[in-house]
Symmetry: C2
């Protein structure tokens, strides 16, 4: 491809709309253009990378036994009504009607439609296991599309669904996918961390997210440098608090809590300032509702509640914070002054770290008042004491006890065990070898293809531009004649271009009449792994320069050897991306 | 791939819903399943073929200088409002709103969005020509989806748009695409006829459709066996009528037409029966409206009006038949009794074959009456005499004069010269070498990928099933051990399967415990180009049988030679599909 013909409109200025490094570089290097919020055109360079990422993912899915198909994007409402998700999905689902008034959605995910397919076509255990996947546009009407294609409303996703006879089969499919995902991301040059996560509303018990650690990530990950443990902060269990020193048992009743006036002191920060008590000696009491039930969650003032854990602790799939009106109605006080002492009408779920305090400050269930000297377990008791807080950096690793670190992460893939949630809802059963009709056991496994592209750039760039891993680079090399009016340089560049292309090195010839500085800057910005410069050195010594973008290594070679040198580096760099 | 694992659910019964051979075979061979009207799931076999067709099309687009990109499917209404098509498109366009109430459509085509892209990114003639394409789902809410994926509502299309500096550039881009289309269809094993067509409402003057001649086709094509001329019947010009014999000039006024009573005789057929006059000696007079104008079209009774020609004859883009009320109001008679004599308030456009009659029967503009002895040119005159009829079989070829044939055709591709229709509407201009701002000159070029798949099957099948051209076959070969309980057969089949797969022959091993008849029938139905049968002959003489699906040729070869024989046939059959 000649640069003069390539539609890759680079920008010299920083685009004002850019919200992250990858977003900025994808705009500047001419990879994407926005059509509307969260919806993009993928220009030729981006499209080439997306095809390479897709092809790597496809190879890994096929290696694991996957069969590719294509499901409809426009899906009839009826199937979603069968599982109830037509009502649950809310405004994130794009909905439309056809000319006859029938309702459809644009598939945000494909559990319904693929389970219906399997329900119709699979009858016997002999047809299982089945791993079916597609690579296709998905649609989610995000309330806040962000970071370019990282959180978009129209995006490309690979979704695979596994169908097994039993739990052992699911276990095996899950293991295969875990391995396939690790291999695929590695081959894309992406360093990912597989973290334990919470399945949330989608159901099931085990799930892993593949995270690219990055400051712009919207997920919080804790990880242990000691043993390699990693988890989404929503899923990471907090370890038990240290045991209290074994002193004499407290036989006497402690003195009653003392009420103090705290006018307008609503937050933990205010309370710390007002009373001089450290946050870890204060208890927060938060009211939540779910499925008609009301619970008070009690945690330490320096901790944060994990709503997923709270919901699970009381056997619900989700909980919502109670409204201010409800809080006042139940406790007699506005939020900020609620406390567990005397809160008899409400089920109390307390975190063990809260119950481990010798004494604490709590709200007094009275406006502008708190209690000091509250002894957990004596002045109030909890209906349930269980881990309901978010893990914080420095907390001991649940596996080895070393202190945990915390990072932000971009989720590029997630694998779920769905078990029989969808097959039961839709009646997808098979006749097993024992003659019994059983629901198929399912898993689902997604990779954000467009998000992976952005994550690769997020992880591989410098001040000058993108540094593509060779496996997903739109082109491998650029040949830059420094002076296109110099006949010798042009001829050498053309010859090299044809040699490289003929040898399977995907090459762009920068034939533009531009200053060398512009061409070099564009080459760096677009991130070609290898740049071959044909300049003054050619006439002087018959040499050209090859520069590797990743490490800036720069070597002069004779014109004759240039193509084979590029091929040698390309082979080396490709091999380095092979999974071990 | 092992047949036991492949999701290709074949049907023994004829599916009731099937409307054509390809539809029936795609259902029976387990290629597709319907999700809702005109919306299908493409199962693994179909998906593999679609990928091969896409890859052939991609290679030909790239060879012609195309650059692939991906445009949004969900497109903002604003752009369509700019060209006016938001209002013109009607109910065929799927429309939806996002969570903020903004209006979008699902792209039925992409002229607007790609012209807007070029408007933003192309500034100089140096960036032209530009050939941009994508392969992607398109959406049209057809009132009557038919024939499976031939006329669907969600379908895969390749659409390329050319952007040139001038008409000469467009000419060159158009020529390249014509050639690329011919090559692509040929490589898919599809015999197509490129026919001249009418651009209709999309504008421009020159357009070709690539037709697969087939009785189920929804387009009518005329073609000449003599010189190869072919055209959509809507676009084919009728030749001039034979000159009248040169007799003495008619100096005397002919006798006035005679009115005859024809109670309830409204149609040409009725009139032929009632009066005994042949249809070709009767004139039909049809009232049409367009853009506020009213015209009477006069054609011979045995001919059919071509509305596209009529509209063009009076300088409009389309015309509509006048309502019965309007006909009566203007002529004083109901439709069926209208004639050109005395029709003074209406512009008359007559076909030359109508005017060439010595005398004719016409309506009398009076209920239940006709005129006989009407002499065209004497008893009435036409404001315009021009070709406005559909060509009929037997009409002389406009190029060589030989009689034309007529067939039905499935349109698998169409190429258009758009000129500056969209670039002017959207303001997509560039600065030319002469320093002037000019609109880019455009063409657009579509291939229905899913429709091509169906057309291939429509053209390549027999009573037993599909006969895939090797280039687009989901798999090349199937290895069938006749008796899977025979250890020798199974081992030989496995060995062959690995040999073939290792040599790049895409192979399915039919490892199912089924009767040989079932396996053979499925192999024929699914249409594998080569079937290798490992049966009793193996034990007897160490031989297997290779059968070619296309010609039923059946050869016994030794087990050792089988793989190389299949490879030889595959190479030959692939070469036969290379464009000359």
């Amino acid at each position: 491809m000649r640069m003069s013909q390539l539609l890759a409109p680079t920008l010299r200025e920083e685009p004002a709309e850019a919200e992250s490094d990858s977003h900025r570089l994808m705009l500047r290097a001419g990879l994407i253009r926005k059509s509307s919020a969260g919806i993009y055109t993928y220009l030729p360079l981006a499209f080439r990378s997306l095809r390479k990422i897709s092809e790597i993912v496809r190879e890994e899915m096929d290696r694991a036994g996957g069969q590719e198909l294509q499901l409809p994007i426009v899906q009839p409402a009826e199937l979603w009504v069968e599982t109830g998700r037509w009502y649950e999905y809310g405004p994130e689902m794009f909905r439309l009607k056809d000319r006859h008034g029938r309702e459809f959605c644009l598939g945000p995910t494909h559990e319904e439609i693929i389970t219906a397919l399997v329900r119709a076509e699979v009858r016997s255990y002999r047809q299982l296991p089945l791993l079916l996947y597609q690579i296709q546009n998905k649609y989610r009407d995000e309330i806040r599309p962000r970071f370019g294609v990282i959180r978009g409303r129209e995006f490309i996703m690979k979704d695979l669904y596994s169908f097994d006879r039993d739990e052992a089969g699911l276990e095996e499919s899950y293991r295969k996918m875990y391995e396939a995902y690790s291999r695929a991301f590695h081959r894309c040059g992406l360093s990912t961390t597989a973290v334990e996560a919470d399945p949330g509303a989608i159901g099931g018990d085990v799930t892993h997210e593949f995270m690219v650690l990055s400051p712009i990530g919207e997920a919080q990950v804790v990880h242990c440098r000691q043993c390699g443990y990693a988890a989404n902060v929503e899923a990471a269990p907090a370890s038990a608090p240290p045991a209290r020193p074994q002193g004499a048992p407290a036989t006497e009743a402690p003195p009653a809590p003392r009420k103090v006036s705290t006018p307008g002191v609503r937050t933990i920060e205010d309370l710390v300032r007002f009373l001089g008590t450290p946050a870890h000696a204060i208890l927060k009491t938060l009211l939540y509702e779910g499925d008609g039930r009301l619970v008070a969650a009690v945690i330490r003032g320096d901790h944060q509640l994990n709503e997923v854990k709270l919901a699970r602790a009381i056997g619900l799939s989700s909980v919502q914070a109670a409204s201010p009106e409800r809080v006042r109605e139940v406790t007699g006080a506005p939020a900020g002054f609620v406390g567990p002492v005397g809160l008899n009408r409400v089920e109390i779920v307390a975190d063990p770290w809260a119950m481990a305090l010798d004494e604490a400050v709590t709200g007094a269930n009275e406006e502008d008042a708190h209690l000091v000297g509250v002894v957990p377990g004596r002045h109030f008791s909890a209906d349930r004491v269980t881990d309901i807080r978010l893990v914080v950096p420095g907390d001991p690793c649940p596996r080895c006890g070393a202190p945990l670190d915390r990072s932000a992460g971009i989720e590029v893939g997630q694998i779920f065990k769905l078990h029989t949630k969808y097959s039961e809802a839709l009646g997808a059963t098979f006749l097993d070898e024992d003659g019994k009709e059983k629901p198929v056991v399912m898993g689902c496994y997604g990779i954000g293809i467009t998000r992976t592209l952005a994550a690769v750039i997020e992880q591989h760039h410098d001040d000058k531009g993108i540094i593509w891993p060779v496996s997903v680079a739109p082109y491998h090399a650029v040949v830059v004649p420094v002076n296109v009016k110099d006949r010798g340089q042009i001829e050498a560049a053309e010859r090299l271009y044809h040699e490289l292309t003929g040898a399977g090195v995907e090459t762009v010839l920068d034939d533009r009449e531009e200053r060398p500085g512009v061409k070099f800057n564009d080459a760096d910005l677009m991130g070609f792994p290898y740049r071959v410069t044909v300049g003054a050195r050619l006439a002087a010594s018959g040499q050209v320069e090859i520069r590797r973008r990743s490490d800036g290594r720069d070597v002069p070679v004779s014109l004759d050897e240039a193509a084979s040198k590029v091929r040698e580096w390309l082979r080396e760099d490709m091999e380095a991306l092979q999974p071990r």
